[in-house]
Protein backbone atom coordinates (compact mmCIF):
# COMPACT_ATOMS: atom_id res chain seq x y z
CA UNK A 1 0.00 0.00 0.00
CA UNK A 2 1.25 3.48 -0.83
CA UNK A 3 1.39 5.80 2.12
CA UNK A 4 -0.03 9.20 1.32
CA UNK A 5 1.18 12.23 3.18
CA UNK A 6 -1.95 14.27 2.59
CA UNK A 7 -4.37 11.88 4.29
CA UNK A 8 -3.28 10.50 7.60
CA UNK A 9 -2.98 6.72 7.43
CA UNK A 10 -3.46 4.73 10.60
CA UNK A 11 -0.65 2.34 9.68
CA UNK A 12 1.98 5.09 9.43
CA UNK A 13 3.15 5.18 13.02
CA UNK A 14 1.02 2.93 15.16
CA UNK A 15 3.26 -0.09 15.24
CA UNK A 16 5.75 -0.44 18.02
CA UNK A 17 8.50 -2.84 19.07
CA UNK A 18 8.52 -5.55 21.73
CA UNK A 19 10.50 -3.42 24.20
CA UNK A 20 8.11 -0.49 23.83
CA UNK A 21 5.22 -2.91 24.26
CA UNK A 22 6.70 -4.18 27.50
CA UNK A 23 6.96 -0.65 28.86
CA UNK A 24 3.38 0.11 27.86
CA UNK A 25 2.02 -3.04 29.48
CA UNK A 26 3.78 -2.12 32.71
CA UNK A 27 2.15 1.30 32.58
CA UNK A 28 -1.32 -0.21 32.03
CA UNK A 29 -0.88 -2.51 35.03
CA UNK A 30 0.16 0.47 37.12
CA UNK A 31 -3.01 2.29 36.10
CA UNK A 32 -5.11 -0.79 36.90
CA UNK A 33 -3.59 -0.92 40.39
CA UNK A 34 -4.20 2.79 40.90
CA UNK A 35 -7.83 2.67 39.74
CA UNK A 36 -8.54 -0.35 41.95
CA UNK A 37 -6.97 1.25 45.01
CA UNK A 38 -8.93 4.47 44.46
CA UNK A 39 -12.18 2.48 44.13
CA UNK A 40 -11.45 0.54 47.33
CA UNK A 41 -10.68 3.77 49.18
CA UNK A 42 -13.96 5.27 47.95
CA UNK A 43 -16.05 2.30 49.05
CA UNK A 44 -14.29 2.14 52.44
CA UNK A 45 -14.86 5.85 53.02
CA UNK A 46 -18.51 5.43 52.07
CA UNK A 47 -18.95 2.53 54.50
CA UNK A 48 -17.30 4.38 57.37
CA UNK A 49 -18.65 7.89 57.05
CA UNK A 50 -21.75 7.92 54.85
CA UNK A 51 -24.03 8.31 57.90
CA UNK A 52 -21.87 10.91 59.59
CA UNK A 53 -23.44 14.32 58.90
CA UNK A 54 -20.25 16.22 59.74
CA UNK A 55 -18.32 14.28 57.09
CA UNK A 56 -20.93 14.78 54.35
CA UNK A 57 -19.34 17.64 52.42
CA UNK A 58 -15.80 16.31 52.83
CA UNK A 59 -16.97 12.96 51.45
CA UNK A 60 -18.83 14.62 48.57
CA UNK A 61 -15.85 16.60 47.34
CA UNK A 62 -13.35 13.77 47.94
CA UNK A 63 -15.51 11.43 45.85
CA UNK A 64 -15.84 13.96 43.03
CA UNK A 65 -12.10 14.67 42.96
CA UNK A 66 -11.21 10.96 43.04
CA UNK A 67 -13.70 10.33 40.22
CA UNK A 68 -12.08 13.01 38.09
CA UNK A 69 -8.68 11.45 38.81
CA UNK A 70 -9.97 8.06 37.65
CA UNK A 71 -11.60 9.59 34.57
CA UNK A 72 -8.34 11.37 33.75
CA UNK A 73 -6.33 8.15 33.83
CA UNK A 74 -8.90 6.28 31.72
CA UNK A 75 -9.03 8.93 28.98
CA UNK A 76 -5.37 9.87 28.96
CA UNK A 77 -3.80 6.38 29.26
CA UNK A 78 -6.39 3.79 28.21
CA UNK A 79 -7.97 5.86 25.45
CA UNK A 80 -4.54 7.22 24.50
CA UNK A 81 -5.82 10.78 24.45
CA UNK A 82 -2.53 11.75 26.07
CA UNK A 83 -0.72 10.55 22.94
CA UNK A 84 -2.83 12.62 20.56
CA UNK A 85 -1.97 16.11 19.37
CA UNK A 86 -2.55 18.94 21.86
CA UNK A 87 -5.07 20.52 19.51
CA UNK A 88 -7.09 17.31 19.36
CA UNK A 89 -7.02 16.93 23.14
CA UNK A 90 -8.57 20.37 23.40
CA UNK A 91 -11.22 19.51 20.80
CA UNK A 92 -12.32 16.58 22.95
CA UNK A 93 -12.06 18.17 26.38
CA UNK A 94 -13.06 21.79 25.85
CA UNK A 95 -16.83 21.08 25.51
CA UNK A 96 -16.84 19.51 28.97
CA UNK A 97 -14.87 22.22 30.68
CA UNK A 98 -17.19 24.85 29.24
CA UNK A 99 -20.65 23.34 28.83
CA UNK A 100 -20.88 20.61 31.44
CA UNK A 101 -19.40 22.70 34.23
CA UNK A 102 -21.92 25.41 33.44
CA UNK A 103 -24.82 22.96 33.18
CA UNK A 104 -24.03 21.34 36.51
CA UNK A 105 -23.65 24.67 38.27
CA UNK A 106 -26.95 26.01 36.91
CA UNK A 107 -28.85 22.80 37.66
CA UNK A 108 -27.67 22.51 41.23
CA UNK A 109 -28.45 26.14 41.94
CA UNK A 110 -31.90 25.89 40.36
CA UNK A 111 -32.62 22.63 42.19
CA UNK A 112 -32.33 24.40 45.52
CA UNK A 113 -34.83 27.02 44.39
CA UNK A 114 -37.42 24.52 43.23
CA UNK A 115 -37.18 22.75 46.57
CA UNK A 116 -39.56 25.26 48.08
CA UNK A 117 -37.18 27.38 50.11
CA UNK A 118 -34.63 30.09 49.41
CA UNK A 119 -31.21 29.16 50.75
CA UNK A 120 -28.40 31.53 51.51
CA UNK A 121 -25.40 31.53 49.21
CA UNK A 122 -23.44 29.39 51.69
CA UNK A 123 -25.83 26.49 51.02
CA UNK A 124 -24.97 26.29 47.32
CA UNK A 125 -21.91 24.17 47.85
CA UNK A 126 -22.97 22.32 50.95
CA UNK A 127 -20.48 23.96 53.28
Amino acid sequence: MDARDDIYEYSLDTHHSEEEGKKMRKKFMGVLALLSVVTIIEVAMGMMWSRDESMASILKYTFIILTLVKAGYITMIFMHLGDEKKSFQWIVLAPYFVLIGYLIFICLVEALYTGGFRPGIENYFGF
Binding site: Y8, V31, L35, I64, K85, F88, V92, F117
Partner: protein, 292 residues
Protein backbone atom coordinates in the same frame (compact mmCIF):
# COMPACT_ATOMS: atom_id res chain seq x y z
CA UNK B 1 -5.55 29.70 0.04
CA UNK B 2 -1.93 29.70 1.08
CA UNK B 3 -0.45 32.98 -0.13
CA UNK B 4 3.02 32.16 1.09
CA UNK B 5 3.49 29.14 -1.13
CA UNK B 6 4.85 29.87 -4.54
CA UNK B 7 2.30 29.25 -7.27
CA UNK B 8 4.73 27.44 -9.52
CA UNK B 9 6.41 25.09 -7.03
CA UNK B 10 4.57 21.88 -6.26
CA UNK B 11 3.64 21.79 -2.55
CA UNK B 12 6.25 19.73 -0.76
CA UNK B 13 6.12 18.01 2.61
CA UNK B 14 7.97 20.87 4.28
CA UNK B 15 5.21 23.31 3.27
CA UNK B 16 2.71 21.23 5.18
CA UNK B 17 4.77 21.09 8.32
CA UNK B 18 5.16 24.87 8.24
CA UNK B 19 1.41 25.26 8.84
CA UNK B 20 -0.70 22.20 9.52
CA UNK B 21 -3.81 24.30 8.94
CA UNK B 22 -2.84 25.38 5.40
CA UNK B 23 -4.86 22.55 3.89
CA UNK B 24 -3.87 19.38 2.13
CA UNK B 25 -2.86 17.62 5.32
CA UNK B 26 -4.36 16.04 8.45
CA UNK B 27 -3.58 18.52 11.20
CA UNK B 28 -4.60 16.21 14.04
CA UNK B 29 -2.46 13.31 12.76
CA UNK B 30 -5.28 10.95 13.62
CA UNK B 31 -7.05 8.57 11.26
CA UNK B 32 -10.56 9.33 10.06
CA UNK B 33 -12.13 6.34 11.83
CA UNK B 34 -10.62 7.09 15.19
CA UNK B 35 -11.50 10.76 14.99
CA UNK B 36 -15.12 9.97 14.16
CA UNK B 37 -15.26 7.50 17.05
CA UNK B 38 -14.05 10.29 19.32
CA UNK B 39 -16.71 12.65 18.00
CA UNK B 40 -19.39 10.03 18.56
CA UNK B 41 -18.14 9.52 22.10
CA UNK B 42 -18.18 13.26 22.77
CA UNK B 43 -21.86 13.40 21.81
CA UNK B 44 -22.64 10.24 23.76
CA UNK B 45 -20.93 11.70 26.80
CA UNK B 46 -23.25 14.70 26.51
CA UNK B 47 -26.24 12.37 26.70
CA UNK B 48 -24.91 10.79 29.88
CA UNK B 49 -24.00 14.19 31.29
CA UNK B 50 -27.57 15.27 30.66
CA UNK B 51 -28.95 12.23 32.47
CA UNK B 52 -26.60 12.59 35.42
CA UNK B 53 -27.25 16.31 35.67
CA UNK B 54 -31.00 15.68 35.70
CA UNK B 55 -30.36 13.15 38.44
CA UNK B 56 -28.31 15.71 40.37
CA UNK B 57 -31.08 18.28 39.99
CA UNK B 58 -33.79 16.02 41.40
CA UNK B 59 -31.58 14.63 44.09
CA UNK B 60 -30.60 18.10 45.22
CA UNK B 61 -34.23 19.17 45.19
CA UNK B 62 -35.34 16.25 47.38
CA UNK B 63 -32.08 16.02 49.28
CA UNK B 64 -33.69 15.38 52.66
CA UNK B 65 -35.84 12.43 51.63
CA UNK B 66 -33.61 10.87 48.95
CA UNK B 67 -32.84 7.21 49.74
CA UNK B 68 -29.22 6.33 50.53
CA UNK B 69 -27.88 3.90 47.94
CA UNK B 70 -26.04 2.11 50.73
CA UNK B 71 -29.40 1.17 52.28
CA UNK B 72 -30.80 -0.10 49.00
CA UNK B 73 -27.99 -2.11 47.40
CA UNK B 74 -26.99 -4.40 50.23
CA UNK B 75 -27.07 -7.81 48.60
CA UNK B 76 -24.12 -10.01 47.80
CA UNK B 77 -24.33 -13.41 46.09
CA UNK B 78 -24.22 -16.41 48.48
CA UNK B 79 -24.23 -14.09 51.48
CA UNK B 80 -27.34 -13.56 53.55
CA UNK B 81 -26.36 -10.53 55.58
CA UNK B 82 -26.25 -6.84 54.97
CA UNK B 83 -23.19 -5.62 53.12
CA UNK B 84 -23.23 -2.17 51.61
CA UNK B 85 -22.18 -1.55 48.02
CA UNK B 86 -19.73 -4.47 47.96
CA UNK B 87 -21.28 -5.95 44.85
CA UNK B 88 -21.21 -2.63 42.98
CA UNK B 89 -17.55 -2.29 43.91
CA UNK B 90 -16.98 -5.75 42.46
CA UNK B 91 -18.82 -4.75 39.26
CA UNK B 92 -16.68 -1.62 39.01
CA UNK B 93 -13.55 -3.70 39.37
CA UNK B 94 -14.71 -6.12 36.65
CA UNK B 95 -15.31 -3.26 34.24
CA UNK B 96 -11.96 -1.60 35.00
CA UNK B 97 -10.20 -4.95 34.56
CA UNK B 98 -11.94 -5.54 31.23
CA UNK B 99 -10.82 -2.07 30.18
CA UNK B 100 -7.24 -3.12 30.91
CA UNK B 101 -7.59 -6.34 28.90
CA UNK B 102 -8.95 -4.25 26.03
CA UNK B 103 -6.00 -1.87 26.10
CA UNK B 104 -3.71 -4.92 26.14
CA UNK B 105 -5.49 -6.24 23.04
CA UNK B 106 -4.88 -2.89 21.32
CA UNK B 107 -1.23 -2.98 22.39
CA UNK B 108 -0.82 -6.53 21.03
CA UNK B 109 -2.40 -5.32 17.78
CA UNK B 110 0.33 -2.69 17.46
CA UNK B 111 2.86 -5.53 17.50
CA UNK B 112 0.73 -7.54 15.00
CA UNK B 113 0.41 -10.44 17.45
CA UNK B 114 -2.83 -12.10 16.36
CA UNK B 115 -2.91 -14.80 19.07
CA UNK B 116 -2.39 -12.24 21.79
CA UNK B 117 -5.11 -9.94 20.44
CA UNK B 118 -7.52 -12.87 20.39
CA UNK B 119 -6.69 -13.84 23.98
CA UNK B 120 -7.18 -10.34 25.44
CA UNK B 121 -10.36 -9.76 23.45
CA UNK B 122 -11.90 -12.97 24.80
CA UNK B 123 -11.14 -11.81 28.34
CA UNK B 124 -12.66 -8.40 27.56
CA UNK B 125 -15.84 -9.99 26.24
CA UNK B 126 -16.11 -12.22 29.32
CA UNK B 127 -15.62 -9.21 31.61
CA UNK B 128 -18.36 -7.32 29.78
CA UNK B 129 -20.72 -10.28 29.98
CA UNK B 130 -20.08 -10.64 33.72
CA UNK B 131 -20.85 -6.97 34.17
CA UNK B 132 -24.14 -7.12 32.25
CA UNK B 133 -25.11 -10.25 34.19
CA UNK B 134 -24.30 -8.52 37.49
CA UNK B 135 -26.44 -5.60 36.50
CA UNK B 136 -29.34 -7.92 35.70
CA UNK B 137 -28.85 -9.53 39.12
CA UNK B 138 -28.92 -6.15 40.80
CA UNK B 139 -32.04 -5.10 38.91
CA UNK B 140 -33.70 -8.32 40.00
CA UNK B 141 -33.05 -7.57 43.65
CA UNK B 142 -34.12 -3.95 43.34
CA UNK B 143 -37.37 -4.89 41.57
CA UNK B 144 -38.00 -7.77 43.94
CA UNK B 145 -37.40 -5.68 47.07
CA UNK B 146 -37.37 -6.73 50.70
CA UNK B 147 -39.57 -9.10 52.64
CA UNK B 148 -41.03 -6.40 54.89
CA UNK B 149 -41.74 -4.02 51.98
CA UNK B 150 -43.38 -0.61 52.51
CA UNK B 151 -46.80 1.07 52.29
CA UNK B 152 -47.88 3.11 49.30
CA UNK B 153 -50.34 5.66 50.62
CA UNK B 154 -53.68 6.69 49.13
CA UNK B 155 -52.22 9.39 46.85
CA UNK B 156 -50.29 6.70 44.97
CA UNK B 157 -46.96 8.48 45.34
CA UNK B 158 -46.03 8.82 49.00
CA UNK B 159 -44.36 5.82 50.58
CA UNK B 160 -44.51 5.00 54.28
CA UNK B 161 -41.34 3.10 55.15
CA UNK B 162 -40.48 0.89 58.08
CA UNK B 163 -38.11 2.56 60.48
CA UNK B 164 -34.86 0.62 60.34
CA UNK B 165 -31.95 1.02 62.73
CA UNK B 166 -29.01 2.16 60.58
CA UNK B 167 -26.48 0.28 62.70
CA UNK B 168 -28.13 -3.10 63.26
CA UNK B 169 -30.47 -3.06 60.22
CA UNK B 170 -33.30 -4.32 62.43
CA UNK B 171 -36.85 -3.04 61.86
CA UNK B 172 -38.53 -1.16 64.69
CA UNK B 173 -41.94 -2.85 64.74
CA UNK B 174 -44.91 -0.52 64.47
CA UNK B 175 -42.84 2.59 63.75
CA UNK B 176 -42.86 4.10 60.28
CA UNK B 177 -41.40 7.09 58.44
CA UNK B 178 -43.38 9.34 56.11
CA UNK B 179 -42.02 12.25 54.05
CA UNK B 180 -43.31 15.63 55.20
CA UNK B 181 -42.85 19.26 54.24
CA UNK B 182 -41.75 22.08 56.52
CA UNK B 183 -45.20 22.41 58.10
CA UNK B 184 -45.33 18.70 58.89
CA UNK B 185 -47.87 18.01 56.14
CA UNK B 186 -47.67 14.68 54.50
CA UNK B 187 -46.11 15.40 51.09
CA UNK B 188 -42.81 14.88 49.36
CA UNK B 189 -40.70 17.52 50.94
CA UNK B 190 -38.03 18.34 53.37
CA UNK B 191 -37.75 15.47 55.79
CA UNK B 192 -39.32 12.48 57.49
CA UNK B 193 -41.74 12.23 60.39
CA UNK B 194 -42.12 9.19 62.61
CA UNK B 195 -45.58 7.64 62.63
CA UNK B 196 -46.80 4.95 65.02
CA UNK B 197 -49.84 3.61 66.86
CA UNK B 198 -53.30 4.73 65.79
CA UNK B 199 -52.09 7.15 63.11
CA UNK B 200 -50.07 4.39 61.45
CA UNK B 201 -53.06 2.05 61.49
CA UNK B 202 -55.26 4.71 59.85
CA UNK B 203 -52.69 5.40 57.14
CA UNK B 204 -52.18 1.68 56.57
CA UNK B 205 -55.91 0.99 56.15
CA UNK B 206 -56.01 2.86 52.83
CA UNK B 207 -52.48 2.01 51.73
CA UNK B 208 -51.16 -0.72 49.47
CA UNK B 209 -48.42 -3.04 50.69
CA UNK B 210 -45.60 -2.92 48.11
CA UNK B 211 -42.33 -4.74 47.62
CA UNK B 212 -39.41 -3.52 45.56
CA UNK B 213 -39.44 -0.84 42.93
CA UNK B 214 -40.72 -0.13 39.46
CA UNK B 215 -41.31 3.02 37.45
CA UNK B 216 -44.37 4.09 39.42
CA UNK B 217 -43.56 3.14 43.00
CA UNK B 218 -40.52 2.41 45.09
CA UNK B 219 -40.45 0.74 48.49
CA UNK B 220 -37.18 2.49 49.38
CA UNK B 221 -38.72 5.95 49.10
CA UNK B 222 -39.26 8.49 46.37
CA UNK B 223 -40.18 6.88 42.98
CA UNK B 224 -37.82 9.25 41.16
CA UNK B 225 -34.92 7.33 42.67
CA UNK B 226 -36.11 4.14 40.97
CA UNK B 227 -36.84 5.97 37.70
CA UNK B 228 -33.35 7.39 37.53
CA UNK B 229 -31.84 4.08 38.58
CA UNK B 230 -33.59 2.17 35.81
CA UNK B 231 -32.95 4.84 33.20
CA UNK B 232 -29.30 5.58 33.90
CA UNK B 233 -28.03 2.09 34.71
CA UNK B 234 -30.28 0.73 31.95
CA UNK B 235 -28.88 3.13 29.37
CA UNK B 236 -25.37 2.35 30.53
CA UNK B 237 -26.07 -1.39 30.61
CA UNK B 238 -27.34 -1.17 27.04
CA UNK B 239 -24.05 0.47 26.10
CA UNK B 240 -22.15 -2.36 27.77
CA UNK B 241 -24.31 -4.91 25.96
CA UNK B 242 -23.66 -3.23 22.57
CA UNK B 243 -19.98 -3.06 23.47
CA UNK B 244 -19.90 -6.80 24.11
CA UNK B 245 -21.62 -7.42 20.75
CA UNK B 246 -19.24 -5.09 18.88
CA UNK B 247 -16.23 -6.64 20.56
CA UNK B 248 -17.50 -10.08 19.64
CA UNK B 249 -17.85 -9.12 15.97
CA UNK B 250 -14.37 -7.59 15.92
CA UNK B 251 -13.06 -10.70 17.68
CA UNK B 252 -14.48 -12.87 14.88
CA UNK B 253 -12.77 -10.60 12.35
CA UNK B 254 -9.49 -11.01 14.23
CA UNK B 255 -9.88 -14.79 14.19
CA UNK B 256 -10.59 -14.68 10.46
CA UNK B 257 -7.26 -12.92 9.98
CA UNK B 258 -8.85 -9.88 8.36
CA UNK B 259 -6.53 -7.42 10.07
CA UNK B 260 -3.42 -9.42 9.23
CA UNK B 261 -4.36 -8.72 5.62
CA UNK B 262 -5.05 -5.00 6.15
CA UNK B 263 -1.74 -4.68 7.94
CA UNK B 264 -3.05 -3.03 11.11
CA UNK B 265 -5.51 -3.53 13.96
CA UNK B 266 -7.18 -0.13 13.83
CA UNK B 267 -10.62 -1.73 14.21
CA UNK B 268 -9.61 -3.16 17.60
CA UNK B 269 -8.44 0.28 18.68
CA UNK B 270 -11.73 1.88 17.61
CA UNK B 271 -13.90 -0.62 19.45
CA UNK B 272 -11.43 -0.23 22.32
CA UNK B 273 -12.17 3.49 22.46
CA UNK B 274 -15.86 2.72 22.77
CA UNK B 275 -15.20 0.12 25.44
CA UNK B 276 -13.08 2.47 27.55
CA UNK B 277 -15.80 5.06 27.23
CA UNK B 278 -18.32 2.64 28.72
CA UNK B 279 -15.93 2.16 31.63
CA UNK B 280 -15.50 5.91 31.93
CA UNK B 281 -19.24 6.47 32.16
CA UNK B 282 -19.52 3.79 34.83
CA UNK B 283 -16.91 5.56 36.95
CA UNK B 284 -19.25 8.56 37.04
CA UNK B 285 -22.43 6.54 37.54
CA UNK B 286 -20.74 4.67 40.38
CA UNK B 287 -19.82 7.89 42.15
CA UNK B 288 -22.99 9.87 41.63
CA UNK B 289 -25.51 7.09 42.00
CA UNK B 290 -23.96 4.77 44.54
CA UNK B 291 -21.36 6.64 46.55
CA UNK B 292 -22.78 10.12 47.05
Amino acid sequence: MSGHVSQTAAPSHSDHSASPWGGGTSPFKISYGKMMMWFFLISDAFTFSGLLTAYGFMRHKYEDIWPTAGDVFTHFPFYDGHIELAYVAFMTFVLIASSVTMVLAVEAGHRMKKKSVQFWMVLTIIGGAVFVGSQAWEWYHFIHGTEHGAYLLEDGVTVMKHKIDPQTHVIEEGTFLVPVNRDGELTEGSGFREVSGHEATVLKSTATHIHGANLSHNEYGIPLFADFFFFITGFHGFHVFSGVCINFIIFLMVVEGKFEKTGHYEMVEKSGLYWHFVDLVWVFVFTFFYLL
